[in-house]
């Protein structure tokens, strides 16, 4: 994939941030609004897709830091499972919501009846959403990069030229 024109790259650079911020919004409000870890992570990964289209695969790879993605993926999954183990370690049950209604982090008690949504509630669920969000962002980004490596130009070694082109262009 060749980097696209300067106009496209500039627009992508400014819009990309909005995509990422919106993805983070969907993840951290997962316990209050529609969405959650998976959906938000997928939204953020579309930001990576935007970078790949605008800057070409190699440019996006440098920008995102691809070698960090597997670590990110693993860290997200570990967050999830360690939070699940937390309940068992406290002697209650696996997946027990040990932070809910205890005060502190995500521990506010919810009032009965209609309320506008209290962000600091729901215990481990928002934290698990964040773990899933990290995992999905890294996983889908890796899939996108794998698709990029599968394109004909990369396989035939022609894509290295794009890299040079980009260097002179910038």
């Amino acid at each position: 994939m060749k980097p696209m024109s300067k106009i496209v790259r500039t627009v992508a650079a400014s819009i990309g941030w909005f995509v990422f911020v919106f993805g983070i919004y969907v993840i951290v409000h997962g316990h209050l609004t529609p969405g959650g870890g998976f959906q938000g992570g997928a939204v953020m990964a579309t930001g990576v897709a935007l970078l790949i289209v605008a800057y070409g695969g190699w440019g996006a790879e440098r920008c995102v830091g691809k070698e960090r993605l597997p670590v990110f993926e693993s860290a997200g999954l570990l967050t999830f499972i360690i939070l699940a183990f937390g309940g068992a370690c406290l002697g209650i049950t696996f997946f027990f919501n040990f932070l809910a209604n205890k005060g502190g982090l995500f521990g506010d008690k919810l009032p009965l009846g209609i309320n506008p949504g209290i962000f600091n509630s729901a215990g481990v669920i928002p934290l698990m959403n964040m773990g899933v969000g990290m995992e999905v962002l890294a996983g889908i980004s890796l899939i996108l990069f794998a698709m990029f490596y599968g394109t004909k130009r990369v396989r035939e070694g022609r894509c290295l030229v794009d890299n040079e082109e980009k260097e002179e262009d910038v």
Binding site: P70, V71, E73, S74, A75, L77, L78, F80, I81, I82, A84, F85, G87, A88, G91, I92, T93, F94, F95, F96, N97
Partner: protein
């Protein structure tokens, strides 16, 4: 309360945790990664034994996720189970024992079998553990939707593992074929569970079983579940993926994949006995299992005889042996509503069929591992390019003899014990079925004599001149399975008394399964 209270979930959670941690552990050292994978599955085996001990003491174990107490299926005054739970009776624990041992052996064997320079080993071990998690989850869960989730985990992990040797286009093809077939099957399962959810507003298998009223929706769900799970178990006429997938996956994966298919077989039995049971027409269900079983036995073995590829040959035998389990348990299902017949031969047939599940996981796993050992040294599966290996690979030869004798049903190996139980009890139900089973057993023996002769006997050929014995981890892995084959063959009475017999009784006892979750109260 001691920590063993959490043993049921630790069976699944320990390999899951290590599977997620493996990409990080890999950064330390490859030995740390491999040891963590082996230890997590050994831990699972230990936990299964603890749970089994508990079940012998006090009946089925229930573990409720996220509740105030793990043993409270109906928390806070609910009239129906709302939470996800594991429900483990003798049958589930038996399957989990067989599956976790097979997975542990697979990982031990992989240590030397999959070489570092092949690359992607972190992903290999992650997927391997995820496949084990999916398999164990299917066997332990008491929730229909969770069953589907674990089915998908096991399937998706195995797609990746089958295609691990990417340089061989046939393995990509095998993985793709399995992916298509298995995804369609999984969608059938999902639709069937959706139908049941729509009718009963619940996903707990025991709750659905308790309120089962047979109507058109239930019939559709029954047929969809039966067909798709029989397909995943590899029964003829839905067997076309088995020979490719088993034949092309790395041998360590194939040995575990046998157990993963058996988890689907367990799902099939669980659905037919515990969810539908005698409410559905059990003669129809039983005869369907028997017909699947007969077709699998006969077509599997006749296809196997003509093969030249050693792993494809064994894969067709795997289909054929699945037929024995379907036959044995199918006879039990067909007489489920007749207490006299059930006591006189039905339970014995089921015990034989269930005993055969674990025997099959062990000896077929062992055979696939020996095929992998041959491939490790010769880089070929073609029987025509082998010869005289008995001179060079003495452990592999002995293990192959044990595996081949066990699959052919020769005493004193484990296959003999379970096959004899099936012959005797099925003979009382219908003599013809028993005759077919015996003929198939003889053909199996013939086929393995052929393999033994062409691979191990005879003079050494130019290709096998420099062959040595395989590395230690592979010898140990095969050794564990061989020891189990011999022990089960020498003491079949103990196994039937403590493992297979109680498993058959708990499978036939639908009310026991229901009451361990819902209690007698409702």
């Amino acid at each position: 309360m001691s920590w063993t209270e959490h043993a049921p979930i630790l069976i699944i959670a320990a390999p899951l945790l290590v599977s997620f941690a493996i990409p990080l552990l890999e950064k330390i050292d490859y030995r740390v990664r491999n040891a963590a994978a082996v230890l997590s599955l050994a831990f699972s085996v230990w936990m299964v034994l603890i749970v089994l001990h508990k079940i012998w003491g006090s009946g089925p174990v229930v573990y409720v996720f996220g509740a105030k107490s793990a043993f409270l299926p109906l928390p806070s005054g609910f009239k129906f189970p709302v939470r996800i739970m594991l429900e483990i009776d003798n049958m589930s624990a038996f399957m989990a024992l067989s599956g976790s041992i097979a997975a542990m052996v697979g990982v031990i064997y992989s240590w030397a079998f999959v070489r570092e320079e092949e690359g992607g080993l972190g992903k290999y071990y992650s997927l391997f553990l995820l496949m084990a998690v999916g398999m164990l989850g299917m066997e332990l869960t008491g929730d229909a939707f969770n069953f589907f989730v674990f089915l998908e985990i096991a399937s998706i992990a195995s797609f990746g593992l089958i295609a691990y040797r990417r340089e061989d286009p046939a393995s990509i093809e095998a993985s793709f074929k399995y992916m298509i077939v298995s995804t369609i099957g999984a969608i059938f399962v999902l639709v069937a569970i959706g139908f049941l959810y729509g009718r009963y507003d619940a996903l707990n298998m025991a709750y659905i079983a308790k309120h089962m009223r047979i109507g058109i929706v239930e019939r559709i769900a029954f047929v969809l579940l039966m067909v798709s799970l029989a397909m995943k178990a590899g029964a003829v006429p839905m067997h076309m993926w088995v020979s490719d997938a088993y034949g092309r996956a790395p041998a360590a994966v194939t040995a575990t994949l046998v157990s993963v298919s058996q988890a689907s077989l367990y799902g099939l039995f669980r659905v037919m006995f515990s969810m539908f049971g005698v409410t559905m027409n059990n003669h129809f269900g039983g005869w369907m299992l028997i017909i699947f079983g007969l077709l699998s036995m006969f077509i599997g073995v006749t296809m196997a005889i003509v093969q030249k590829d050693i792993k494809r040959l064994m894969a067709y035998h795997a289909i054929s042996q699945t037929g024995y389990m379907l036959l044995g348990v199918g006879v039990g299902l067909a007489v489920l509503d007749n207490p006299v017949a059930l006591r006189s031969y039905g339970l014995a047939a089921m015990t034989g069929g269930i005993f055969h599940i674990m025997n099959h996981a062990m000896y077929k796993g062992l055979l696939f591992l020996t095929a992998g050992a041959i491939f490790y040294r010769l880089r070929t599966f073609n029987l025509n390019e082998m010869g005289g290996l008995a001179r060079k690979m003495k452990y592999t030869t002995i293990y192959f003899i044990i595996g081949a004798a066990a699959i052919a049903g020769l005493p004193p190996f484990n296959g003999f014990a379970s096959k004899l139980m099936i012959y005797e009890s099925v003979y009382k139900f219908n003599p013809l079925l028993s005759v077919v089973a015996m003929v198939v057993s003889i053909l199996t023996l013939a086929s393995f004599v052929k393999v033994f002769h062409s691979a191990f006997l005879g003079p050494e050929i130019s290709k096998t001149r420099d062959v040595r014995e395989v590395p230690k981890s592979m010898v140990i892995g095969m050794g564990i399975m061989a020891v189990i084959c011999i022990l089960f063959g020498l003491f079949p009475g103990m196994v039937v008394k403590y493992l297979a017999g109680p498993a058959a009784v708990s499978l036939a006892n639908q009310t026991g399964y229901i009451s361990s979750v819902i209690g007698g109260g409702m």
